[in-house]
Symmetry: C2
Subunit: 510 residues, 2 copies
């Protein structure tokens, strides 16, 4: 590497690397050069530029560069030869120099050889993910207005949260530093029990509450403890794709059950395919949004009790209901201990908190506590303690109230902006809760194409057909409004309404 | 419930409940009474004692109790009738009053009906766990001197750690609040890469490092992405029981391979049982402690490459090596990209941090990043950022140095105290690293009985036979010294040495 090139490379490194905020410049220069040496960008024996010229190139004081060089000298990464400058002296052990050949062998289906069948399903970005049309794009995880599942956590009271966390760390209860053996931090489980009793009519004693690191882990634990390989699981169709992936990764056979306006609607034929597990979203069907009727709830509960099947009730966003009375949970109607109720804090707090909870039937408490510990080794009890304070001191309830207002307003604005799509034959579904809207199309519409056209305008929405299990019969768009700023939602909503109308008209003409 | 009894009950609740430290007394009283009402300890219509008599019974000011009552009145849990006191007014919705019958039905094997076969294995406290002899005891998770796997984190610089965490929360980079899509926080992955290159001769680029929530999750991810149901996995015999449990929970067939003093020692017969995965602890065999020889390493690597098998190298405690040169990793010798290297921070930092890492072959990076996100939804990036600072600022290295000294001293003291067991025919294994010692017995000794006798003296040690897969051929004790305080280790070590000698002599006479 020539010397001007090294300066260029270092400048890029220094601007790109995410060094800790308070790291002094000399340390950054040291780190960047050290990495260049260990990663053999600068091979052994190569001469470094003079400190003076490097300082000029980097726009730093010569002292800064000298300090970095001194440290490199001290640690033996470089050596100084009198009169001829500084050289890379780092001798990597023999094993280091042999770089494994990067193997890019693909099998005929284009998959990397070596993954298992279930591994291919679990690790694919191509299968089942509703953003299929953009999954090869590097910005797959970049959030844009209307991305379903992206929540707005900018309004979360982080300063208060920081103080609660910091207080726990000051008190330093040693019990909070260990991994969690007993289903989670007891006061948090008590707070959750109180909250669920009052807000969701869940019928429980505190011992039935287990803290997990989120809904994904909760579903996984249910699948692992309650089912065996090749068992059948009923899922709603369309269905929450992430749940589907975990169930499939556990070797389960998915049996899709269609939904109608009363929720999951099993037919006589469905009843013949006996499930070990039933995965359902009764308060707010995901993604279509309807509430399961009382009759359907009784039907499911009775069937589960008859068959000895278990029901997973995923109550993923019931905090955000904008009209009408809160709906009771399915769990609250269950008299036979067949329902496992799941909830999450990631939507109300912030996604990275990774805390969720399960309410399990009394007879499963002991094995679930053990299974949770053995399979997932939960910890982060400090954060559980701060969350217990956050709830007990009333901040959780007031944050939900605030966000319910914010999200409710965004929903009204988006509904208004999307109203014109009715002119092109699309139907805005009458959902009164949750964090997304559904626009439904006729079954001959290519909804993936509509989503692609929205993506071209910088709007990420998901095609409803990608949520279907088996035949892609339902067509439409899933449109999240939680992340879009209130002041921009009408603007983007109008653009989206135009895209939908234009795309539907083009498809009708074609 | 009569009134004196209510005071008793409240006093018990107030002393047992783990309320947040700064919660005022009136709030505690309010919470305890509210729970008594919602959990129907106090049924609807029941009369509460007067505030004056309750205040006397609880040893609190009357004002405190009045404030609690006022809040209960405000929220409608109780109602005041003029002249006749305060009554429970809370009417639970209909669903609440029906309590699910607690089902304690057991099948003929004594298992709760409803768990799956794999669920029974994963959630059992009876199978495979080395502390079998005490697993029914409520103190199963209580740490005592010599408990293997329990580390001493009292010397961890928590005040410094709190400040690093608090600093990250003050800076509040929004990227650290989301779940982690891309294998973990990049600067932490860089720090780990630097550390592993230098300390463990691991051959890697930073992109190969993924952050997980611990070794249990790392093994789980490997099993899910690289194996299918009923595939064969080689494990060492004896073997780390927690790894074994995760592998079994994934439906894998365990094939035990005996270890000798060069580590895992596959025979011609073993080679016929072709594995998809090989799980090994080459730097420090768990639990016996030997280092895998160079020849054995080459053999395993060549066999894996020939068979297209994957090797999991679990380098669980290589930070704590007390004599001789550090041993290179198996991964550093791998030229074909067949080794997945696992490490953890839970032993060096504190168990509840739940952070571990994997180094995976380059060709697996993309599917593993996706699989990690889809199956485990990692988050807690704030803690990853604080840990990156902790390492970059040199605290990690100096903490390891300190703990290495501490643990090394404990090990020497324990070895000295246990030396007399040789008189009874036991052998102290010559291990020079790790956090436990192994005392080996002749194969006719009942090592579970020896462990039970130690438990009677308040010392938890594990029987070696419980680590065996299949026939329990190896006998001995696993004795952790990480948790025992240096000043007590000789005292407890002498007691243990006496127990061992006494037990072996008794068994020889019987």
């Amino acid at each position: 590497m020539k010397q001007p090139v090294l300066s260029e490379w270092l400048l890029t490194q220094l601007s790109q690397s995410r060094f800790p905020a308070r790291m002094p410049n000399h340390r950054r220069v040291y780190e960047a050069i050290r990495r260049a040496i260990t990663e053999q960008v600068l091979p052994s024996g190569c001469r470094l530029p003079s400190t003076r010229s490097l300082a000029t190139d980097l726009g730093m004081s010569r002292n800064t560069v000298l300090t970095a060089f001194d440290q490199l000298l001290d640690e033996g990464y470089v050596a100084a030869r009198t009169g001829s400058g500084t050289y890379v002296a780092y001798n990597q052990p023999d094993e280091f120099s042999k770089n494994p050949n990067v193997i890019h062998s693909l099998n005929p289906e284009g998959n990397i050889i070596g993954l298992s069948r279930r591994g291919l399903i679990a690790s694919s970005t191509q299968n089942n993910h509703p953003s299929d049309h953009s999954s090869n794009h590097p910005s797959n995880h970049e959030v844009q207005p209307f991305t379903p599942g992206a929540d707005d956590y900018s309004k979360f009271p982080f300063e208060l949260w920081r103080r609660l966390l910091n207080r726990q760390w000051r008190m330093l209860d040693p019990a909070l530093l260990d991994s969690s053996h007993d289903g989670g931090y007891l006061p948090l489980r008590q707070s959750i029990a109180d909250y669920l009793r009052v807000s969701r009519a869940v019928n429980l004693k505190v011992d039935q509450v287990l803290i997990t690191s989120g809904t994904q882990q909760s579903i996984d634990l249910c699948a692992r403890l309650l089912t065996d390989h090749n068992d059948c699981v009923w899922v709603e169709n369309p269905c929450y794709w992430a749940a589907r992936r975990v169930l499939e990764a556990n070797g389960l056979q998915l049996h899709p059950v269609a939904v109608d306006n009363e929720g999951m609607a099993p037919t006589t034929q469905d009843f013949r395919v006996k499930p070990r597990l039933i995965y359902t979203t009764p308060s707010h069907q995901y993604p279509k949004g309807m509430v399961m009727s009382y009759g359907r709830r009784r039907l499911l509960l009775d069937y589960a009790q008859n068959q000895g099947a278990w029901i997973i009730e995923d109550d993923y966003d019931s905090e955000f209901r904008f009209e009408g009375r809160p709906i009771s949970s399915l769990q609250g109607m269950d008299q036979d201990g067949r329902v496992l109720y799941l909830g999450t804090f990631s939507k109300v707090m912030y996604p990275g908190i990774r805390l969720g909870y399960m309410v399990i039937p009394p007879q499963l408490v002991a094995p679930f506590k053990n299974g949770l510990y053995e399979l997932q080794r939960p910890g982060q009890v400090m954060i559980q303690a701060a969350l217990a304070d956050f709830i007990e001191e009333g901040h959780f309830a007031s944050h939900i109230r605030r966000m319910r207002q914010t999200y409710g307003e965004r929903r009204r604005l988006l509904q208004a902006a999307l109203a014109p799509v009715a002119n092109a034959g699309a139907r805005l579904s009458p959902v009164d809760s949750g964090l997304h809207l559904v626009v439904e199309f006729d079954s001959n519409v290519d909804d993936i194409r509509v989503a692609e056209m929205a993506a071209e305008k910088g709007l990420r929405v998901y095609a409803l057909s990608n949520y279907c299990v088996g035949a892609k019969q339902e067509k439409g768009l899933i449109i999240g409004y939680a992340y879009a700023a209130t002041e921009h939602i009408t603007h983007y909503g109008n653009i989206l309404a135009n895209v939908i109308q234009e795309s539907l008209r083009k498809q009708a003409l074609a």
